[in-house]
């Protein structure tokens, strides 16, 4: 570390020239995987200091949300962490349900868990394969894409869209899962384990990959906690904090799964933790699917809570019945009763604890809505993590932290 403080280039006494090089990494450099800038001071190829700049795609969601009724906020949450938007949507619905006192049936909870865990897999898949790309292995990335595609097809079957999903309603889903959705899910459960195994074979004991990621961008558990790390990045540092276990939501308490943890908090541990979490997610999906299949009779058709004041009426009724049409408009325009109160609800997002802090004054829109975006909070540790590292390590660290510009900038 001492050579960082004493740059290699020795200039003559009294020279006014700088001994270090300033490099603008980003905001639109392909290696940053998102719109954010880092102003790096380099001594040769070593990083002396880094200054991250964020906010390039700030879209004022919190301000916009102050004018929107609850349902119209769901599409805003899509655009936070767009690699796993269903988790954000569900988190928002859970927040509303907590405020409104809507109790969801078990089958809805399990279906939600299937969708959320699929989203987690797609999120981790992108992150880990991008770490592969940044260390020089493109194959894994292209190989796993077809299974992210399959996950997107499942979303499409359920809600009609793929990336920014706007999935679900307050109290449940917009429609029951179709048979095609379950068939695709079965296909995923059948084929994906072999693919994930192969993906692991490609990277986990790969000499180049190990050399590039071990001891690259490490952080201690203590520093990680102080920096507000959550999610896989915190667990890679050795802290077993997982919102799904600590504050279970959507019936996560009914499931058996492990929290994988690392020790050093470096890029390799983060990679391992994410891979293990994908195995755990697979197991959770299998358990949830089994539980869903166990429902019999009328219960097997339940896909939303009985909350007519907040759950949108069925489309066929909206088009044919006056009452349903009125309720549809009332709900969409936010003319239904919303209690006063303040709620904090968090979910385990793709990259950490995604929190929603909602203050309602009883009006049709939130008085204040704040999103706790995990990567905005942990990105501030970046200068400390990369100090003294090589430039190429900084790139790997950047992708290994799973930074999503949309989430960082709201």
């Amino acid at each position: 570390m001492s050579d960082v403080l004493h740059p290699h280039i020795k200039l003559p006494e009294g020279s006014i020239e700088k001994q270090t090089t300033t490099l603008n990494l980003g905001p639109t450099h392909p290696a940053t995987h998102g719109v954010f800038q880092n102003i790096l001071e380099l001594d040769g190829e070593r990083i002396v200091s880094a200054e991250p700049t964020v906010g390039y795609i700030h879209r004022a969601f919190e301000k916009i949300a102050e004018r929107r009724p609850l349902y119209q906020i769901t599409p805003l949450t899509d655009r936070l962490n767009y690699c796993s938007s269903p988790i954000n949507n569900m988190g928002w619905h859970l927040t509303c349900e907590k405020l409104l006192g809507v109790k969801t049936p078990k089958r809805v909870d399990y279906l939600r868990i299937i969708i959320m865990e699929l989203a987690r897999i797609s999120d981790h898949l992108i992150c880990n394969s991008i770490v592969g790309v940044d260390t020089g292995a493109y194959t894994g990335f292209l190989y796993v894409m077809q299974y992210r595609e399959l996950i997107y097809e499942i979303y499409e079957e359920v809600c009609g869209s793929r990336l920014t999903t706007n999935i679900g309603r307050i109290g449940g889903f917009e429609r029951n899962f179709t048979n095609t959705a379950f068939e695709k899910l079965e296909k995923f459960l059948r084929e994906y384990p072999a693919v994930l195994k192969e993906f692991e074979n490609l990277f986990t004991r790969n000499r180049i990959f190990m050399e590039r990621t071990i001891a690259c961008g490490p952080i201690s558990a203590e520093r990680a906690l102080n920096y507000g790390f959550t999610g896989p990045n915190l667990r890679a540092a050795g802290v077993d904090y997982d919102v799904r276990v600590h504050t279970p939501y959507s019936s996560y308490e009914d499931f058996q799964f492990e929290i994988p943890v690392g020790t050093t908090g470096d890029c390799y541990d983060r990679y391992l933790v994410r891979n293990q979490e994908m195995w755990q997610s697979l197991s959770i999906i299998e358990q949830a699917y089994k539980k869903v299949q166990e429902f019999k009779g009328a219960e097997a058709e339940v896909y939303h809570a009985d909350a007519p004041e907040y759950y949108l009426p069925e489309k066929k009724d909206v088009y044919t019945k006056m009452e349903a049409l009125i309720w549809h408009f009332k709900i969409i325009m936010g003319e239904t009763e919303i209690p006063k109160g303040e709620v904090y609800q968090s979910v385990e997002g793709g990259n950490g604890e995604l929190g929603f802090y909602l203050i309602s004054d009883g009006g049709r829109t939130p008085y204040r809505l704040h999103f706790r975006r995990p990567c905005f909070i942990y990105y501030q540790a970046y200068p400390e993590i990369v100090k003294g590292a090589m430039l190429s390590d900084a790139i790997v660290t950047l992708s290994s932290l799973n930074l999503i510009a949309g989430e960082m900038d709201t």
């Binding site: 906010g55 919190e62 904090y241 600590h246 709620v343 204040r368 704040h370 706790r372 909070i377 501030q380």
Partner: protein, 171 residues
């Protein structure tokens, strides 16, 4: 096992009447602290062997323009990860002199959260190492999340939105 009741008793024992408005909306212990005590309260919650609120989950502000003298509320969400219990506390400040002590000495994570709060509400965090805007441009001369800045009127007609698929020749 740590309970809301126990936390409240410990806080009252330490700070007496200074802490007010204890409540438990949706199960989370919530209270108010005077703004010059915010650091002392946080330090106590951090250091106490039983309380150990050592994780700052969230920090943000709320603007109440009608509440004269206490227009801005800074809201802290703290988490005790060992006992898995969360609390929330608020500090109110006037908008003319929105000075609140920074929490960056205790939590590194407060750095950007306070910058964001400054950026959007103009809360001046005393002692912050680098208090400048984080998401908005540096040249901005107002604090956009304050309630006096309404969103654009959706029914306005004087704006040329042709490039965005509204108005113009397609109207």
């Amino acid at each position: 096992m740590l309970t809301n009741e126990h936390i409240k008793n410990k806080l009252v024992e330490k700070f007496g009447d200074a802490l007010t408005n204890f409540s438990e909306p949706y199960g989370m212990l919530t209270f108010e602290a005077p703004k010059d005590l915010n650091l002392k309260v946080m330090q106590f919650l951090f250091d106490d062997a039983e309380l150990r609120f050592q994780f700052l989950t969230d920090l943000q502000a709320v603007h109440y323009p009608d509440d004269k003298g206490r227009e801005l509320a800074v809201v802290y969400h703290l988490h005790n990860l060992a006992d898995n219990i969360r609390i929330r506390f608020k500090v109110f400040t006037s908008i003319e002199q929105p000075d609140v002590f920074t929490a960056t000495k205790l939590y590194e994570s407060a750095n950007w959260m306070e910058r964001e709060t400054y950026d959007f509400f103009g809360v001046n965090f005393i002692g912050h190492p680098n208090l400048k805007r984080v998401l908005n441009v540096d040249e901005m001369d107002y604090f956009p999340m304050r309630k006096e800045f309404p969103l654009e009127d959706q029914t306005r007609v004087d704006k040329d939105d042709e490039m965005f698929g509204r108005g113009g020749t397609y109207n």
